[in-house]
């Protein structure tokens, strides 16, 4: 990656930041269209920059462009839409588009795991909460962003830092070499041959087993915490409901 490419990348980020800032919800709607146009410009710059770096055949490149554009557009809408339920649905779209990008990288297992975990379970619970929280009308905190400038600035600075770091990687990544570095020293070629799922499983259960255990313990703690929080304390008089062995339940009501 040459210096000029990096500057074009940062320029794209700057335009994108301005676009998101203009599109954030505010009482007057006139600036959103200007923001959307700026966003399209930033997207065009980014896509041309990325297409130059993708070395796969034409169809993969086309799919990459489509799904990357969908993901970026949907991600922008997640933060700029003024109705939370649409934000959640755009988040589902982001997840699906990223899953498609992962499939293009031949990481099918990660793609499907992402869809099952995020789109299939987590966002559904978000929707559950949103549906219970509000039925009609949007309150003031949905119609107006509170600190739009600071939020956009910090978000895009962080993204630019990460992207600059990623840009320091070698220009063309060889097919499968990312996978090979992740599966460890023991025969990378064979782990690619045995399939993506098996390779991921081997990596998780050997090299990253400590991380896996820590994640498991964390989830367990969260689960116990959730149960403890949701358990309602009731006075002891009220809990004395009749208890019976399983075979006797319901016997006292004679059938008609």
């Amino acid at each position: 990656m040459t210096a000029s490419t990096a500057y074009i990348l940062y320029l794209a980020f700057a335009i994108g930041a301005a676009a998101v800032y203009l599109m954030l919800p505010r009482p007057e709607r006139s600036k959103a269209i200007a923001g959307a146009l700026l966003g399209v410009a930033a997207l065009a710059v980014l896509i041309t920059l990325l297409v130059a770096r993708v070395t796969e055949p034409g169809s993969t490149r086309a799919f990459f462009c489509i799904f990357a554009a969908v993901a970026l557009f949907a991600a922008a809408r997640v933060v700029t839409h003024n109705r939370p339920i649409f934000s959640a649905l755009y988040f589902v779209l982001v997840v699906l588009a990223v899953a498609a990008l992962l499939v293009l990288q031949e990481a099918e297992f990660l793609a499907v795991a992402l869809v099952i975990v995020y789109a299939g379970a987590i966002v559904v619970t978000y929707l559950f909460v949103i549906m219970l929280a509000q039925q009609t009308g949007s309150p003031v905190y949905d119609r107006q962003a509170r600190e739009p400038l600071l939020a956009v600035l910090i978000g895009f600075l962080l993204m630019a830092a990460v992207a600059g770091q990623a840009g320091a990687l070698p220009d063309t990544v060889e097919q499968g070499s990312v996978l090979a570095t992740q599966t460890g020293p023991d025969s990378p070629a064979s782990s690619i041959a045995e399939g993506n799922t098996a390779a991921v499983g081997r990596a998780v259960m050997t090299k990253y087993v400590v991380v896996l255990e820590i994640a498991g313990v964390l989830l367990l703690i969260a689960m116990i915490g959730a149960i403890a929080l949701s358990k309602k304390k009731v006075p002891s008089e009220q809990v004395r409901t009749a208890r019976k062995p399983l075979g006797q339940v319901g016997k006292e009501v004679a059938p008609y």
Binding site: F109, V115, I116, V124, F128, M131, L246, V249
Partner: protein, 406 residues
Amino acid sequence: MREFFTSQFGVSITFSVMVIGALLGITTYCIYFERKIAGWVQDRYGPNRVGPAGIFQLVADGIKMVFKEDIIPGHVDKVLFLAAPAIIIIVSFIGFAAIPWGGQWELDGHLVNIQVANPDIGLLYILGVASMAIYGLVLGGYSSNNKYSLFGSLRATAQMLSYEIPLGLCILVVVLTLGTLRLEHIALAQTGYWFGIIPQWNVFLHPVPFVILLITSLAESNRTPFDLPEAEQELVCGYHTEYTALKFGMFFLGEYAHMITASALISVLFLGGWHFPWIPWAQPEATSFFAVLVKIGVLGGKVVFFIFLMMWLRWTLPRFRWDQLMRVAWKGLIPITLALFILTAVLVYFGLERSIWTLVGNVVIVAGALLIAGSFGREVTGRTTNLPPIPSGPFSPGVGGVGASA
């Protein structure tokens, strides 16, 4: 041109078109079967007016559904209201892509899979697609802007999230036993025989996960006794109360398509897919065109069996109460499937995952679960005394009954 149509890609495209067409027909015919089975259970004829034995009833139903007035109420969220049935129908149909319908076909000297796609992660693909189906129900209920619809979709969310856990664990038991996620390999791994007679189907190894998978599939496709999201006595029609005409029909067809996917998945996971003993064409070695047809027929027969079972259950069992539904999932199915999963993992460690010990472990786990459930007292919920007797009189209750006799 011929090379294209005999390649795997060409066969996949041709087959996907055929599958979509056939499934549209079969799902519509499911409505006819449903009504006939309802008639059989309730000791009446069922549809018998349109055509011989009423077989053209679905044509009449379809025409009615298409030409009914399509009302979009003024109070709905229009975008989501139109998106919900589309999501339901798309998600129900793309799940079929990974089902291995007919094994392999020898075409111009090479073997092609009678399957739309044979990805490395076929089973997870079906799970992922099925988990997206919930958006149709949730958005349908939310966008209707109606309290009953919202209740329906809230119930659907909680129910499907709860029953996805035992469903996934049952599938993982099979994956752990056979060590592959490719559905074609799962079917192939069950083609052997024990003692030369008993086919090595997973149902003989793991009868309990088979039954639990059947139960959770009923819950996932919102069929009775798990049809709380559309409980008509409480919620009018649940999440599709505000839908009319063809949009209602999409919800209706989506349910049947979901049933067919679930039946095909259970057949492949536990009943050997297209394999059947004693039929020479339903063996993995047979690759002629006729064998492909026989294999599709065998898998289709298994699917029809499960669909019949589900319809029979629908007209036989009453609906669960909400607390019972949650108790069955969280206190019943999830601990049992977790125990089964751990059992399978231990057996895989010792290399005994396809031996008699699997069956023994299943029996022990069920016996232990019954012992634990029997030793703890159960809370007596619901009605504990009889209702006052129905007053007897010349007329049925309510007409001249209660006040007059008292």
